[in-house]
Symmetry: C2
Subunit: 206 residues, 2 copies
DNA sequence: CCTACCGATCGGTAGG
DNA sequence: CCTACCGATCGGTAGG
């Protein structure tokens, strides 16, 4: 866990291979989970030999940690963009919409984090207790102030954030189940957007 | 996949061992996922040797399939109990409460299904397309009729059911993250109950 | 950056 | 000749 990032300085080839490895790792880890994934699968998807893979990252765990850390900023961007100076309900609705958009556009990333947290976040707990908790505490205070000022309904800010996570990530993480239950000819994400807009409009109305 | 259940008739010892295996498999599969779990872990948790384990079930996959099938009825009971003749809002709120209670009392079962669906439900897709879809179609029709009659707000019944799944299972599946973000001295499930009661009251009000 | 490997552990099965 | 097992090991594959 000490050396999660590849050696520097990097040549163009090294940068390209590092990118290919992380892309391949995202594909494989998100579909199989950490233990289910193999270095051979990742190496093949990246178009590298396994020994070459292990030249760039010292271990399977190092790839996984680098992947999670590299995605953390992107993953938290929608919440980070919630503006304390903005119009309260519009800011929360905007956050929900960005998060749902993320589930649609980045389902592999969603499943990667889901797999990790579901199994107790053994390689990620410091990220949750660090960046994530700090950001959520910050934004929960903002939402709490909006509620106290009567701009939105008086709801628990933490559970409001949890509800946005749960409702939007569900469509990425349980995509197979959602599509199987809805049957063919439906558009889960478009339907979800309308449903969630109604849900949060009604929940937040002061 | 032909012989997922142990031989019959069973002695008392056989019934006890079969129960111990399924309990151990729930513990291990829910925490590690299918590929992450090993027969050795399951055997040890069940207090049996691995060869004895494989006397009762022919393979790792057979244990997993038997476990999912055996839990299906319990898992669907809360939705099944929703009464078409009952008071609409009370029936939906009751379903939500039973589902949240299930997340609190049976988090391992929740994580078992979550692990499976998250990875594309390779050993479970027929259960989703069969029993689950049939039941959801049935109950969605009931909810749709309630909405059409103006007893509840006009919401998409399928996405209403998805929202109950997402919001209640989140507290079991992402328990580690919820607790890490909330910090010590909080009661996630008690808080969730109050929050979700508010949320669905507001969503469903005609 | 490849060929050739290792200690260990995987799911599953042998004889008794 | 059945049941309910055990100690030891199978062929292959894991991470490294």
């Amino acid at each position: 866990m000490t050396e999660a990032t590849p050696p520097r300085p990097q040549t163009r080839i090294q940068r390209r291979n590092t990118e290919a490895i992380l892309e391949a790792a995202l594909e494989v880890f998100s579909a199989q989970g950490f233990r289910g994934a193999t270095l051979d699968q990742i190496a093949q998807a990246a178009g590298l030999s396994k020994p070459n893979l292990l030249y760039y990252f010292p271990s399977k765990e190092a790839i996984h940690v680098a992947l999670l850390e590299g995605l953390m900023d992107i993953w938290l961007a929608p919440l980070r963009a919630m503006d304390p100076a903005g119009e309260p309900k519009a800011e929360i609705m905007g956050y929900m919409r960005r998060k749902l958009e993320m589930s649609r556009e980045m389902p592999r990333e969603s499943r990667l984090f889901a797999n990790e947290v579901l199994q107790g976040a053994p390689r990620f707990i410091e990220g949750i207790e660090g960046d994530l908790k700090t950001l959520v505490d910050d934004k929960a205070a903002v939402i709490g102030a909006w509620a106290a000022a009567g701009k939105i309904a008086p709801v628990d800010p933490y559970h409001l954030i949890f509800s946005i996570w749960a409702l939007t990530q569900h469509y990425a993480d349980f995509d197979v189940q959602v599509r199987a239950v809805l049957g063919p000819g439906r558009a889960p994400f478009a339907e979800a957007e309308r449903f969630l807009e109604t849900l949060f409009e009604r929940l937040l109305a002061p």
